[in-house]
């Protein structure tokens, strides 16, 4: 069985906009949500880091009062997606409704709070700590909230979690295991403890995220969630849902080489797998939302991978890193970046790579430096390449 899968709803909570409309306005305008902020713990530890936090959703997060922040963000994003899709899951649809939600880490703030309470203040952890920390918490909360009783689980593949979740959910629908699904990812790890761990890895940018720019020096961690409603095409058409985009392809593989350093061969392999059988008229009509972390290694490696896949056509396409604006949402990156790719496809606008200061001979594609580019696109690709060498690429075309 092979069926077509379409997108009928999108929900996003990001550092540059806490719903899809605001997110797109931010993307198109080149809004940068990266700020230097102090993070503290137990009134005795403090550190300052460039991060991309979300500050305007606290009231909306109360919709899930007993969830960790990463579950709360997922619920807010999913509610927006379900509302846009006009999806009503009745008793007949429930067993055919999937819920595949990724995360790179899980309930970090609950984890931190539990340890701080235990080790610094002698307080035992709250009894719901485990239910808040487990990486499947968002998938479970959304399953309960929206009555999704089909395949439901979390996917954790670090920075590729969101892309894997969307691709796997699409495959479940394509293969007949489900008719609809919520798919995407959530991440919220802006805590003192987590940021100290990331700092120890020597991979965070000092000031801001500068993907593909010669003076880039690392990634900036952001938080948020991006969730799609995926649907078998006939199911969507029969209920009169607006089709926002088509999932044209999904590719995933593993480098099988290194925990940190990326592989151009692996990345290209995943992109080629996603593009197998996908038709597009001209490389000029291709937009790639890059993994584009702004690290020394990722950006030239991704550039080589794109050249390997598109050959000389790589000079004609546009590839931008929206991480320059919303930071790296780790597991949730593929969620909000797939939404960025779909919005770019629909609007005919490639969001820019901001903070681009200086060309790098090793990064020689059109990255839409600092300003959005208007162009008609036939194909939008979202790249996600995780620590540990796990790659996932989703390709979207118009309905």
């Amino acid at each position: 069985m092979s069926r077509n899968v379409v997108v009928t709803g999108m929900g996003a909570v990001t550092p540059i906009g806490s719903d899809v409309k605001a997110y797109w306005q931010g993307l198109a305008a080149g809004k940068c949500g990266i700020v230097k902020r102090e993070y503290t713990a137990a009134d005795k530890y403090a550190m300052t880091a460039a991060t991309a936090p979300i500050d305007d959703v606290e009231e909306r997060l109360k919709v899930l009062p007993r969830g960790d922040r990463f579950s709360q963000l997922a619920v807010v994003a999913a509610d927006e997606a379900v509302k846009q899709a006009g999806l009503e899951v009745d008793e007949a649809l429930a067993p055919r409704a999937a819920c595949i939600i990724g995360t790179g880490i899980g309930g970090q703030s609950t984890f931190d709070k539990s340890y701080i309470g235990l080790l610094c203040n002698g307080r035992r952890p709250h009894p719901l700590s485990i239910l808040k920390i487990i990486p499947n918490a968002p998938a479970s909360h959304l399953s309960i909230r929206h009555g999704l009783r089909g395949p439901a689980f979390a996917i954790s593949s670090a920075c590729a979690s969101g892309a894997h979740a969307i691709g796997v959910c699409a495959d479940l629908i394509r293969n007949g295991s489900a008719d609809v699904g919520l798919a995407g990812a959530s991440e919220a790890i802006l805590t003192y403890g987590a940021l100290e761990a990331w700092t120890a890895m020597h991979i965070l940018a000092d000031e801001t995220c500068r993907p593909f720019s010669k003076n880039r020096n690392g990634l900036v961690i952001g938080e948020g969630a991006g969730i799609l409603v995926l649907e078998e095409e006939n199911h969507a058409r029969e209920r009169g849902a607006e089709i926002l985009a088509r999932i044209a392809g999904f590719g995933m593989n593993a480098d099988g080489k290194d925990m940190i350093n990326p592989s151009a061969e692996g990345a290209a392999g995943a992109m080629n797998a996603a593009l197998e059988g996908v038709k597009f008229s001209d490389p000029r009509s291709v937009y790639i939302n890059a993994h584009g972390t702004g690290t020394l290694m990722n950006d030239p490696t991704e550039t080589r991978a794109v050249r390997s896949v598109f050959g000389t056509g790589a000079d004609d396409l546009i590839i931008s890193s929206t991480k320059s604006m919303h930071g790296h949402l780790l597991g949730a990156a593929g969620g909000i970046e797939s939404i960025a790719a779909i919005l770019a496809l629909r609007a005919g606008v490639a969001p820019p790579t901001v903070n681009y200061d200086e060309p790098d001979p090793a990064c020689d594609l059109n990255y839409a430096p600092n300003e959005a580019i208007e162009r008609t696109f036939d194909l939008a690709i979202s790249n996600s390449f995780a620590f540990g060498g796990l790659n996932a690429v989703v390709a979207f075309t118009k309905a």
Partner: protein, 82 residues
Amino acid sequence: MAEIEPTLLEIIKEHAVGLAGDPTRETPIADLGIDSFSIVEIIYEVEEKLSVEVPFNANENPFGEMKTVGDLIDALNALIKK
């Protein structure tokens, strides 16, 4: 038993998201709007506030047959005395 009842009622009230006024012994549990999460939280807070240990197993659901807040208070008291 009587002296801890106000504390128990206060803890239950904090979790009664579905109740408009204050709970009494006669309030039906169904009106409180609580779920399995709430029971675990209530037990935890009872332990914290009263400095007792409640021998409660979340999988046994010993509160399954209760109908009123009074039943819940009696069950908590029974557990605390164990």
